[in-house]
Amino acid sequence: MRQSPIVEIDRISFGYDAARPVLRGVSVSIPRGSVVGIMGQSGCGKTTLLRIIAAAYLPTAGRATVLGRPTSELDRDGLYAMRRKMGMLFQFGALFTDLSVYENVAFPLREHARLPDELLRDLVMLKLQAVGLRGAAELMPTELSGGMARRVALARSIALDPQLILYDEPFTGLDPISFGVIVRLIRSLNDSLGATSVIVTHDVQEALGVVDYVYFMAAGRVIAQGRPEEVRKSDEPFVNQFVNGRPDGPVPFHYPAPEYGADLELAAA
């Protein structure tokens, strides 16, 4: 029998206020064990969609089923029980600046389990080893480079061995080496933990190299989806412009403005 998807988003709509809908009739299905990308321009609603998956917001219409339960039916305890099976990597890591690298990774373990110090240490070192930063355990977050901070945050988000890992713009502001490291880690951690990953990003070429399936969003809707090789060949104008980074196309280069000549008062001259 085919396994049910770990995330099933069914025709949801959402807006931070009633006048401006951010998501309009979005449907997304994320099968277990896969790495799925959600791509689109800034402001297209992809991060909002990620937060709906994390049940930080509830859809105003439609249904979001995550880890087998509709998010709208969860009370506080149910929500926290669900989040214990989830890890999230924030855009800039969101490390606790008053705690060392070791304590950051130990944080979720300390909060949710009473473990003997030795076992805790083994678990933290295991996670730090997985991201290659066992040697940085005693450093403070301010002493880390952007890429290292992102890796520590990744180690922290997998501390509880989550079934679902959510990545919010994991590549922003990274140098090419750190970039490559994070891309490789996303895939290897997903496969070794038997988890499912959702990556929200606009770094399209790099992300296409790691995902199994991709959804393209524009103006609050899913406008295209498919496997990476299908997307690369897509003749859908927006996807084509986005994947190839063309400056002009369905998304115009110029912000709407009055006629250029009129603006410079050329007609009057």
């Binding site: 994390a54 930080a56 929500l79 926290y80 029980a81 989040r83 214990r84 989830m86 890890g87 999230m88 924030f90 855009q91 800039f92 969101a94 490390l95 606790f96 600046t97 944080f107 979720p108 909060e111 949710h112 945050a153 922290r156 509880l160």
Partner: protein
């Protein structure tokens, strides 16, 4: 009245109405926040080490400013008090004047104002920055309630620190008064201390001062944690929230002091 005048009046009334309703809404929100915070204080009290850390940050690190200010306030009180008392030949009551002024009023109020600017602003800035850098969201995503884990220990840390700081302020002030009054001016030490001992009542004066400092501690720390948690998560938002904490809590201390003084030291206390 002409039509534009009516329209202008109407828009002014609307603006007034919306200011009042939003202020009431915010007060209600802050009250619900306090209720939630108190109900979810289990972690802060069970893992008391978390609260101890905050007592260190809010209390111990405020010691220098509190002790030095207390000393100077006490010294100034003695100088000013002596000038007036000696005219009536009552300079030996200097100890009573210094002690009562500090224990009843200046101790809780000035310590509260200093606490708001030193510790309250730091609490707001810290929580606000944690919000701006998504540390609060990260905690929520780890199924850890940030109000229980971050806000409650800071709240209880402040509430516990404030009365202790006020007591130290008063103690230091009395010492400052002694230095100036007895050591410098030459008021009789025996009269200074014995009159103080006879006139300062544990229940009427000291307890009332303690009650004031507890109330100010709750008010300042509540405002500080609420403003931090409610801050707009940007650099400007955090800076505004920090300013609001200092302004609102200072005004709250002065208003509450008037109310408490009116309740405590009038009518039944005609000694």
């Amino acid at each position: 009245m002409s039509l534009p005048a009516v329209a202008a009046l109407r828009s002014r009334l609307e603006a007034l109405g919306s200011t009042v309703t939003s202020a009431i809404w915010r007060l209600g929100f802050a009250s619900r926040f306090l209720g939630y915070l108190v109900l979810h204080s289990g972690t802060a009290l069970r893992r008391f080490q978390l609260t101890m850390t905050e007592i260190y940050f809010a209390g111990v690190l405020s010691l220098i400013i509190i002790l030095v200010s207390g000393l100077f306030v006490g010294m100034v009180l003695a100088l000013q008090g002596y000038q007036t008392l000696q005219r009536y030949g009552a300079s030996e009551s200097l100890g009573v004047l210094v002690a009562l002024s500090l224990v009843r009023e200046l101790g809780p109020v000035v310590a509260g104002l200093l606490f708001a600017s030193r510790a309250g602003s730091a609490i707001t800035a810290e929580i606000g920055l944690m919000k701006a850098t998504e540390q609060i969201s990260a905690m929520e995503m780890m199924a850890v309630d940030p109000i229980a884990r971050v806000v409650a220990p800071r709240f209880w840390g402040g509430v516990i620190s404030m009365p202790l700081l006020a007591a130290l302020f008063s103690g230091m002030g009395v010492f400052g008064g002694y230095l100036i009054g007895v050591q410098l001016i030459g008021v009789d030490a025996g009269a200074f201390w014995s009159q103080m001992q006879a006139a300062v009542d544990v229940r009427e004066d000291i307890m009332n001062g303690v009650i004031k400092s507890v109330v100010f501690g709750i008010a300042v720390t509540w405002i500080a944690v609420f403003e931090g948690y409610d801050a707009v998560p940007t650099a400007e938002g955090v800076s505004r929230a920090t300013t609001r904490t200092v302004v609102t809590s200072s005004l709250a201390i002065l208003a509450l002091d008037f109310i408490l003084t009116a309740l405590m030291f009038t009518g039944g206390n005609a000694r």
